[in-house]
Subunit: 334 residues, 2 copies
DNA sequence: TTGTATGCGTTATCAG
DNA sequence: CTGATAACGCATACAA
């Protein structure tokens, strides 16, 4: 059997509580006994039992990451894992572990209630996609430490952090303006795609600040697929004034636009410049590589980790904010 | 405070140990008292403490997944997450939780030793990339339940499962033969890339079975990048006999080959057919879509989960095997 | 600075 | 079928 704190105490010739104090520095111990204890512990290969400690301190040192991990998740929602990596990193540094668990909006409440009720975790990191109003009530009523990744679509007292897509849009627009492009177009996603929509808002804001215009005729709505990008090109080329630069709301759209443009012999960026958002999946594989406004999801994960630990220590603090600044990566398309 | 088993016992007017037996079905209980207990438990919202149970039963019901999660992991090694999803699914169904933790070949030993020594987990799922001989010794000496994802590069008594890349190669070759292609070429990775190498071996095996040949001149070595795929085309077109079909050892290579082929006006599959491995990242985004031999990593994860639980129950059983059959997905390039 | 005593919530052994 | 009782390993209030 593994050595217990009692074994160490016996071997060192001191009491069990003294060993505890010595190990945790929770109360002063004389040099002499400290030495004895360390020696005994080392010889026995003593390792404190995390379970017993949890039992006594009534905390698990665990955080559960809940999301609806889709089939082929790494491709469908790669950000999820970059965020998880970040969370894990922070937690690990603070002696906490990250548990990964699948959930849906449907079963999230019962999962959280039982996991917390049975003391399986001290807190939760929740992806926006599984967050519901009912969950917000549960979290609030039971005062469960948590942080939501992504701003919930409804008013709530939950704690959340998100990326600033509006700011990303502003940065994209500012870059194009700085490069001297005056006639812009925007190829977006569906009206209910908040990410795309916020990026568009950002673009608009910056253009307005420069007293430039983005007429409704130059804003295209699509379903965010590569094929939609292809089709958008027909409309882009009919616009008047002809766009000198196109902002694509996401990677698939931008790849579609680029392909169709190049198929017609239009040179990028000489004839038309292109900007999109996020590095993956395609932006570094195109020729030329895409200029993008990127976001460091790993950093956001780290911040989420810090915040959930903070909530555990200070349950009353409420955090609702944007984090991690988007950054422009200029490559070949502008 | 949350209700304890004692509270339930008091409310039901029975002893604490009877409640335990009733809840766990660990010893027969009369219908009448069972009813009383269930009623009391429900009214109190009783939830058993997982910590206390762990403490008593000396098991954590946790498995740690250890891998070197790289920067932009979802793109660099997407399979990792599909596997994790599978593991998590199986564990969850069996009342276990999956902890995600970053590790490197350097620190893996100390991580495993302390995590196991401190009773933070009952077992481990380890990615091949962090597995060392020293780790194998530790695992063996302490009889730690584990399963390695990927066959280790050295002889060992560790338990592992892997995908059968050789079989994948065989399937790719068989498909081309069935389609009537007789002159083949193979564009591979570096000689030390075992995945590529095994796929090539599989191709060779099947060709030999059909008394066909893959001469050394028709096997190209590259660094597995898209650009390498591009460059390979020059050599492919100089080969004699001219290849009717090309097997690319992985996705980036195949995309490069396809691009360069199409740039020269060569039609796929009319002039040259193409086969590669894995669905992502590119195979569904090309035009035409790639025919691939794919592997279900989620299934492999599920299997890994089952195996590690089995190892916990039967520590002596040793498993070293291939799992999950590769499957041909015929699309537009053959 | 050290030791004694207590209890965290559960399961399990044993007697009744 | 039920109940009393003893651990599990540790942290901590309190006493010395």
């Amino acid at each position: 059997m593994a050595a217990t704190i009692q074994d160490v105490a016996n071997k060192a010739g001191v009491s069990q509580s003294t060993v505890s104090k010595a190990m945790n520095g929770t109360s002063p111990v004389s040099d002499a006994t400290m030495k004895k204890i360390q020696k005994a512990a080392k010889e026995l290969g003593y390792q404190p039992s995390a379970i017993a400690r949890s039992f006594k301190t009534r905390s698990t040192y665990q955080i559960i990451f809940l999301a609806d991990f889709p089939f082929d998740a790494a491709f469908v929602n790669p950000h999820l894992f970059e965020i998880m990596r970040g969370v894990q990193h922070t937690l690990s540094k603070n002696g906490y572990a990250l548990v990964m668990q699948q959930a849906t909006a449907k079963d999230i409440c019962s999962i959280v209630e039982t996991a917390y009720g049975q003391h399986k975790a001290d807190g939760f990191v929740l992806h926006m996609s599984v967050v519901t109003k009912k969950l917000a009530d549960v979290l609030n009523k039971l005062a469960i430490p948590h942080i939501v990744i992504g701003k919930p679509g409804f008013d709530t007292r939950m704690c959340w952090i998100d990326t600033d897509n509006t700011l990303s849009g502003e940065i994209a627009a500012a870059h194009l303006i700085e490069k001297g492009y005056t006639a812009l177009a925007f190829v977006g996603g569906r009206p209910d795609d908040m990410t795309c929509w916020r990026r568009l808002q950002g673009v608009r804001t910056t253009l307005r600040e420069h007293e430039m215009d983005l007429p409704q005729t130059h804003v295209l709505k699509t379903n965010s697929s590569l094929a939609d990008g292809n089709h958008a090109v027909k409309k882009l080329l009919k616009m008047s004034p002809a766009p000198q630069a196109v902002i694509c709301a996401n990677n698939p759209i931008s790849l579609g636009v680029m392909q169709a443009l190049q198929d017609r012999g239009i040179r990028i960026p000489a004839d038309i410049a292109l900007v999109t958002f996020d590095t993956y999946p395609f932006s570094v594989y195109t020729e030329p590589q895409m200029t993008v406004v990127d976001i460091n999801m790993y950093e956001m994960g780290q911040e989420a980790g810090r915040l959930v630990l903070q909530k555990i220590k200070h349950p009353k603090r409420q955090i609702q904010s944007f984090t991690t600044t988007p950054v422009l990566i200029q490559r070949g398309t502008t």
